[in-house]
Symmetry: C2
Subunit: 230 residues, 2 copies
Amino acid sequence: AIETHQMTKVYGSGNTEVIAMHDATMNVERGEVVALLGPSGAGKSTFLTAIGLINPPTSGQIFIGGQLILDGPQSHTNLRTFRKQHIGFVFQKANLIPFLTAIENVQVALEINGNSPRAARKEALALMDYLGVADRANGLPNTLSGGQQQRVAVARALANKPSVILADEPTAALDGHRGRQVMELFAQVAHERGAGVVVVTHDHRALDVFDTIYEMEDGAMGPKKRQSDL
Amino acid sequence: AIETHQMTKVYGSGNTEVIAMHDATMNVERGEVVALLGPSGAGKSTFLTAIGLINPPTSGQIFIGGQLILDGPQSHTNLRTFRKQHIGFVFQKANLIPFLTAIENVQVALEINGNSPRAARKEALALMDYLGVADRANGLPNTLSGGQQQRVAVARALANKPSVILADEPTAALDGHRGRQVMELFAQVAHERGAGVVVVTHDHRALDVFDTIYEMEDGAMGPKKRQSDL
Ligand SMILES: Nc1ncnc2c1ncn2[C@@H]1O[C@H](COP(=O)(O)OP(=O)(O)OP(=O)(O)O)[C@@H](O)[C@H]1O
Ligand SMILES: Nc1ncnc2c1ncn2[C@@H]1O[C@H](COP(=O)(O)OP(=O)(O)OP(=O)(O)O)[C@@H](O)[C@H]1O
Ligand SMILES: [Mg+2]
Ligand SMILES: [Mg+2]
């Protein structure tokens, strides 16, 4: 589903140069749920936003669904359209639209992809109910707890049933029980719908849910480790 | 150091009423480091922002240093001045000033309390070095990773050596190693300087560092549990 080849990202230049990631290579099959671990500052968000087509690499290739999408900063398709149709992204900060209610935040993601308001609301409510945030549906984001906002962001990312799901520390603000529920949902979506899923996490407790684990350190991507080998 | 008595917080009214916490009572001694746990939405941030004097309760009393500070929404001192002098707060979202560099964010907290720019910069750098973020000192917050921003927020909260330290999930964006280092730093500040420290956390791994554990659920505060009894 997702393939990267020798991705490098350099910020700044000269004195302020930061090599956030170098030569990062990863292969995610359809139906595979991958955990990406590593210390703070290792380059995980940089990697994820690159394959999410939000933050193109300085060099290296990104293939999605077998199609070359980015070659360094050079795009081979309309990135905005491609993201809208194929990628669901959970940001490290929930990033909800502050002037829309929780349910509207999920609903608009569905409407943007052609669903009627009625169908969109029904689907949004079902997802939020599963994640335990339906009772805060009509609240503005700044009246929701940190973990409630995070769960609404998860609902929004999953709403359009995208074939690629990328989540940046989606359970950081959640307790153990809710956190595991979210990780299991990602695994279920991968295994039942064939989505390719990459989850950045610091949480070692729910790792048994993943098919594959990669670790980054100082911008370098380690080798693929299969759950079956651990 | 901190004493609360039957604190209640109600948001909204009628259909939109949310009882975020009710009758919450907690007693934190000088030199005591307390962990506050509980599921997402339990009322932890509501409790912490209340005793941080940022979000006064609907009813109930808050005593700091033996002095009555808030009785429901009624303040008995200038809250802004009191906070500046006595309380260090790490927010659930780092909340750094976006147009100041990382080190400036810590430095201004010191300067506001009367330190010279030179002394402030020296102290800021020492704290950031300890937390492993000195190499990003001159970066604007949006160029720092999630965990780097969080560590800068911790440095800012500790910079003035306050007698009350309140931290809302300060290690959520940190890996195990860095997270433990931050928790140990809070315990050290409590035990060596006599600060009263309350840390909201979902991270069960570093709990051995705390003297006392409280748990909230659905707005209710559970009983005090001493580490020695666990
Ligand atoms: N301004 C507000 N208006 C209405 N409801 C609110 C407001 N702020 C918080 N709440 C609600 O109060 C409850 C407690 O929120 P709080 O932020 O204290 O939870 P929390 O324990 O910190 O959760 P988390 O672990 O997810 O951060 C939640 O149901 C939340 O939606
Ligand atoms: N826009 C930017 N300009 C300069 N440096 C940057 C920028 N964005 C990120 N960095 C740096 O690149 C490195 C990797 O950042 P990244 O956000 O990918 O780390 P991370 O692994 O996600 O960390 P965390 O676990 O703390 O979220 C960090 O040292 C960070 O300071
Ligand atoms: Mg990150
Ligand atoms: Mg909270």
